[in-house]
């Protein structure tokens, strides 16, 4: 079956359950395509041989009651996987093999899925273009020399390029939604506390969330249902009643009130983004929902707030990579010299930049002016959403202020790079769920995404809205297989 990799997760699950396909068929197909797709540089580590073994083993005694029976899946290389190298896209973890499994991936394997390999990402998830990875940039399946977005760039590229049926990424400031938007796929950032952070290499602990990335909303709902769980090993995990997101998925959103925040109409935003947004408003109306103009007055402070809070936490989270216990170690004259050389050689420029920013904003004399102030603004941003949700059920915005850009285009201009996250960052600061769905193309034919932001723990609602809109939008991703010779 040559079109296996074109099938959605839902179709693959169905075909395996109906015994039309075996896990081996499916796994082989994705391995074949992955092997032909080296130019995308989506993988850091592959585990193809063992994946095929596992698939064969599954087929010998298939448990078809599982949610992901024999489904092969590659995951972002930020999730610790037992006995499989986990690098976080960094030289400093280039030789690191965990003896443990992240809760989120454990949940996935427990439902029958099989690990294909570890996907490329920005170093420690710090980046919006997958250009900060020690393992090189990732190509977008959309076009040659186009960034897939970041930090879950390898994940986005692998799903859009059909190297894996679905995947998981992590989203600290937009790292699932922005690359999903750039590559024409669906990406969900769940409510903070919905997915366990145990075993995920930390970037900014108060913002990091794992989430699903998929070809369509239904696949996304199914994968979210698998990965979301309460975990006592993560003190910030929240014990709330989780839906059967895929089973409860409905396109009936009649009477839902959708907020349109005026502050997301930013200066210099291309007209095609504005047009896309207007089209989105029309789609939700066509689905029987009502749109309401709302205000999120502190939106413009979100980006600077994020670039204080996230680096502050990162500077401390990354202190453990010191060459003493595991990972890369440079030779030094003494302990301090070893630290300096290990961290100078082990971390890339963007990571070093953020460690320095974070160290600065936490240092005595600056703490109150930066970190403390940022925490106060963060509260205000959350209050904005709380106020808005008294009037609306969800909020519709563009996912990004532009479509994907060329590799190298913004590498020397970090601020312009950071501006990519302008619509996604407030959602992380407020701990809310947000989903990006592909909604159209720009003049160059590059995908554009719309973001639906929900109330905390209201993933079902935004999945439903996305599902209803998806039907109306009828988006077709233009994948030319340009990289396959």
């Amino acid at each position: 079956m040559s079109d296996i990799t074109k099938q959605s997760l839902t179709e693959l699950v169905e075909n395996i359950k109906n015994k039309k396909l075996s896990s081996t068929d499916v796994t082989k197909a994705f391995i074949d395509r992955s092997e032909k797709s080296e130019e995308l540089n989506a993988y850091i580590t592959n585990d193809f041989t063992s994946a095929l073994d596992k698939a064969k083993k599954f087929d010998q005694k298939p448990n078809l009651n599982l949610k992901l029976p024999g489904i092969p899946m590659a995951v972002k290389d930020l999730f610790c996987t037992k006995d499989i190298k986990t690098t976080a896209g960094s030289k400093i973890l280039n030789n690191f093999v965990p003896t443990y499994e992240s809760t989120v991936t454990e949940n996935i394997w427990n439902e029958g899925a099989i690990l294909l390999g570890k996907l490329n990402c920005d170093e420690f998830a710090m980046g919006s273009s997958n250009e900060t990875s020690f393992f090189g940039n990732v190509q977008s399946p959309i076009d040659k020399n186009l960034v897939p977005g970041g930090s879950s760039g390898g994940s986005a590229s692998a799903v859009a390029g059909q190297l894996t049926p679905v995947t998981i990424g992590t989203d600290t400031g937009g790292s699932i939604r922005q690359p999903a938007s750039f590559t024409g796929i669906v990406g969900l950032k769940p409510t903070y506390g919905s997915c366990s952070r145990y075993g995920i290499v930390a970037f900014a602990s108060s913002l990091d969330q794992a989430g699903p990335m998929a070809q369509n909303v239904k696949d996304c709902a199914l994968l979210h249902e698998v990965i979301s769980s309460y975990d006592s090993k993560d003190s910030t995990s929240i014990d709330f009643k989780r839906n059967h997101y895929s089973k409860e998925l409905t396109n009936n959103i009649k009477g839902k009130k959708i907020g349109i925040p005026k502050e997301y109409r930013v200066d210099g935003m291309p007209k095609e983004i504005e047009d896309l947004w207007q089209k989105g408003i029309q789609y939700v109306k066509d689905c029987g929902a009502e749109t309401i103009d709302i205000s999120l007055p502190n939106t413009s402070y979100a980006l600077p707030t994020y670039y204080i809070v996230a680096p502050a936490e990162a500077s401390s989270n990354l202190a453990r990579y010191d060459g003493v216990k595991y990972g890369f170690r440079a030779k030094g004259e003494n302990l301090i010299d070893m630290y300096e050389k290990t961290r100078s050689e082990g971390f890339g420029a963007e990571v070093q930049r953020r460690i320095m920013i974070g160290t600065y904003v936490l240092s005595s004399g600056y703490y109150d002016a930066y970190y403390l102030k940022a925490q106060k603004v963060r509260k205000l941003i959350k209050n904005d959403f709380d106020e808005a949700y008294k009037k609306v059920d969800a909020i519709l915005t563009p996912s990004t202020p532009s479509s994907a850009f060329k590799i190298g285009e913004k590498t020397n201009d970090p601020v312009s790079m950071y501006l990519n996250d302008i619509f996604t960052v407030p959602v992380n600061l407020a701990g809310l769920p947000g989903i990006s769905i592909p909604a159209g193309h720009d003049s160059k034919g590059y995908p554009l995404g719309l973001q639906i932001i929900g109330k905390a723990f209201d993933e079902q609602n935004i999945l439903n809205i996305a599902y209803a809109m998806e039907e109306k939008i009828n988006f077709k991703n233009k994948i030319t297989d340009w990289w396959i010779k």
Binding site: F79, C80, T86, A88, L93, F96, P98, T99, Y100, S102, R197, Y198, G199, I200, V201, A202, A204, S205, S206, S232, K233, D234, S235, T236, A312, E313, S315, S316, L318, A319, R320, D322, V324, K325, Y326, L335, Y339, T359, L362, S363, S364, Y367, Y371
Partner: protein, 491 residues
Amino acid sequence: MSKKNSEYLINRKDNQYEVVIGLEVHAQVLSESKLFSTSATKFGAEPNTQVSLVDAAFPGMLPVINEFCVKQAIKTGIGLNAKINKRSVFDRKNYFYADLPQGYQISQFKDPIVGEGKVILDMPNGQKEVGIERLHLEQDAGKSIHDLDPQNTFVDLNRSGVALMEIVSKPDLRSPDEVNAYIKKLRSIMRYLGTCDGNMQEGSLRADVNVSVRPKGSKEFGTRCEIKNVNSIKFMQLAIEYEANRQVDLIEEGKTIDQETRLFDTKKNETRSMRSKEDAHDYRYFPDPDLLPLEVSEKFIEELKNDIPELPDDKKKRFIEEFKLSPYEANILVSDIDTAKYFEEVVAKMGKNKDIKLAVNWITGELFAVLNSKALEISQSPVSAKNFAILINLIKNGTISGKIAKTVFELMIDGDIDPQKIVEEKGLKQQSDPKALEALIDKIINDNREKAIEYKQGKEKLFGFFVGQAMKASGGKANPQLINEILKKKL
């Protein structure tokens, strides 16, 4: 209450200086597992055998608070008469060191679990109150071992993540003696509560000592120096003495004192500079985003309050009232929980007709002497409280004399033998039969007629001679009181 006589002052020419001391005591929480992981905390285990992925700060590992340690900290707070904060926050204290795997220590900075409290010290010249500034929970670091290899440093992470309580006093202490009393009092309270074993040899209790000096009568504090990580009371006292004199000398020479962190060299008995204020670490404290603020309910605290045993101050008060002990005696008995337990068990076993004073004298006298010579704790006493009580009763009811009791006690030590059995087997029972004693005394008077006449003529000193003869004749077993009575009658 006058402090004049025992005031600790440093004299130079015409000037007198007062020493101001504040302590930051690090007390290891008595707990089977660590503050944020399930690793064991046993002392003396093979290096790196009690280390979890969390303790070694592996990527993606997260701390989860150990509720038992929280309870222990709150209990200690209650024991220090302190305010328990219903909301406290764990912060990260960031610095790099080889034995600090996370690159930060999880501690509590702005919002500690326990606020202000106080402890009362019993000093020879009266009571002294020492203010407690706060108590917070924090992780211990690992241990760097520099002397096993000429080139390399070894790191043992067994201690990494072990729960510590940092108890910060107000600068209320004024002498090495007060420091001694303060540490002992803290240790006593925590041992009563079972929240810290107070074992200084094993590092369960150590302190950073803040010392400053000021001219006597001055209200302002001088510049302080912090002496890091001193692990015995004796060293604390020596360090304070050295440091206070060093500071006074600087002032006398017209020099200024630099605020700095110092180390105590236990071989040379002196402190030396470790780092100056300018070199002080910027710890970049901020709330640990991996942990939610710690919130405890009133009910949770109340339940712990109900769990608090009678503490040394209350016990002392009760001993004085109930057993009519002197404050000095009560102090000796309550300062160590095991001594208090032993004493109370003896009291209980003595039954109705008990002589508590006698028991106290015997515990603080004979028993302590034996424990001392054998280097035993009272919990390891070779004589059980039960047999000890029987012994005291034997003295009290006249079965044996105090002198014989000492012999019996010596025999009891080897195998905790019932003193009654010893008395019977060795025939040590006191002769209290008046008839037998009268016969014995008649014989002595008969044998010493001349002396008896001399006595009657007024040589009263000879009375002692007759008592001695009677005791000798009875092999020491005669009831001395009866001997006295009979002799007086007969002579």
